[in-house]
Symmetry: C2
Subunit: 272 residues, 2 copies
């Protein structure tokens, strides 16, 4: 069979259970898929920030998006949680299941190069402020050579959501969009974004209101249905398709064989 390339994003939010995916991964590899696992780190970063006594304020953009305020001390905690704790926990768990995983981040091999957001408008107590010490970034380029090298060597890359700033900074980047960028750079057959919901819901949180398919014709409806964190996942799916990825699927991390289920049509399938 031909080797299809699949990029998987495992959500890093509170309560996302990695076990079903970790159990499935050896099967996916045995079936000849080339797999890159990317992951979030928000729950781990929150826990470490709390342990370290850091203020973990969110920034509210004028358009209503919430994001982590990544001031310098928070960046250190985010790097520690994402590239240290979460990444190495996943790699060790995969190794224990016989998967020869190698963990890295977007900083490594210039996999993800981003531009730091130097002045962010944030709404606080109804007033706009400009935040200048935030270390999050907008991804500008991807250099997937390091992933090709590892995949060709039989390794399974596991990627933490950091990027290299154009001035050599380490930056916090959105995990869903990082996964989309990587999927596009690898010309992947599929991007599968797993979290604690069955997919995009027309009437959140009613899980019976799943939107099964999104095509260019129904994209506006999908955008309108997306609430909160789902907004970024829909954007990531769009970006992946625009970058040439075959399908982008928002699917449930909680079910058995979550990736095979998604590839078989479960979840919300975005296609061109």
């Amino acid at each position: 069979m031909t080797q299809s390339t699949i990029v998987i994003k495992l959500g890093g939010g509170e309560g996302v259970n990695p076990e079903p995916l970790l159990q499935e991964l050896p099967d996916l590899l045995a079936r000849g898929h080339r797999v890159v696992l990317t992951h979030g780190a928000s729950a781990a970063a929150n826990a470490l920030a709390d342990q370290a006594g850091l203020d973990r304020r969110q920034l509210l953009s004028p358009s209503g998006h919430l994001s982590r305020y990544t001031y310098p001390a928070m960046l250190e905690i985010f790097v520690a949680a994402a590239a240290g704790q979460v990444n190495k926990t996943l790699v060790a768990a995969l190794q224990a299941r016989g998967v020869n995983a190698v963990g890295l981040s977007g900083v490594d091999g210039r996999l993800l190069v981003a531009e730091r957001k130097r002045a962010i408008r944030a709404v606080e107590n109804g007033r706009q402020r400009v935040i200048r010490d935030d270390y999050s970034g907008k991804i500008r380029e991807s250099h997937p050579d390091v992933l090709h090298r590892l995949l060709d060597g039989g390794f399974t890359p596991v990627v933490a959501p950091l990027a290299l700033g154009v001035k050599g900074e380490r930056l916090n980047v959105d995990g869903d969009r990082a996964a989309a960028t990587i999927a596009a750079a690898l010309e992947a057959d599929a991007l599968v974004i797993l979290s604690n919901v069955p997919g995009l819901l027309a009437d959140f949180p009613d899980e019976t209101s799943l939107i099964p398919r999104v095509t260019p014709q129904t994209l506006e409806l999908a955008r309108a249905a997306a609430q909160g964190r789902m907004k970024r996942k829909v954007l990531a799916a769009e970006e992946a398709l625009a970058g040439g990825v075959g399908r982008a699927i928002l699917a449930d991390a909680r079910v058995e064989n979550p990736v095979a289920s998604a590839l078989a049509g479960a979840g919300t399938v975005f296609s061109r």
Copy 2:
């Protein structure tokens, strides 16, 4: 010229300045050396443990060695500091200097496989206790394939001092001995261990008492001269030579071009 392979260990102790080494690395690569940079993380792990409010007791072995007590919560902090903070700081700093660095740890690609020390005898208030919840390990195997892959691809690997336990645990391992194991596995031409002293001193801390050469005939004297942290560095040098490495050099991280100086004969050169 032939490509020589050099494994460098940058000490992670308080006050070790990485700048001279970071500045030198592009030159070493331009001269055709294949370089693997390994690093410690003790000062960063101490700072993060303090920030997180963890008790960072040391374990004193009956033979007088001090080591970090890596209980489960401390392991999380050590992984965060070593594979997250220190590793990605070095990788980003190298990228900013044009070196295409890729950070990983001994967990990744099974680079270092270790056995957890399940029962450690420690002396506390003059009495021996047995510690059973420590997650540090003794390195048993090295699988350098992932390093060969990266080096062949033109990347410079940067390795954090963790190992994969035989049961899939992440373990804290001594950075000097990890570097020695990697140097042996790569059949490196040289192992250069950099820290804040000129090398092995006959009369610590008198820096004029540097021991310039150690051969099998003078090894006992070197062992006797080593105090504190130096004991492990001497052991690492011995292990590297026993594993087939050409030379092992304990040298000064503070000087300009620390690696070229060491290769030219500065520091304490161990040879067979």
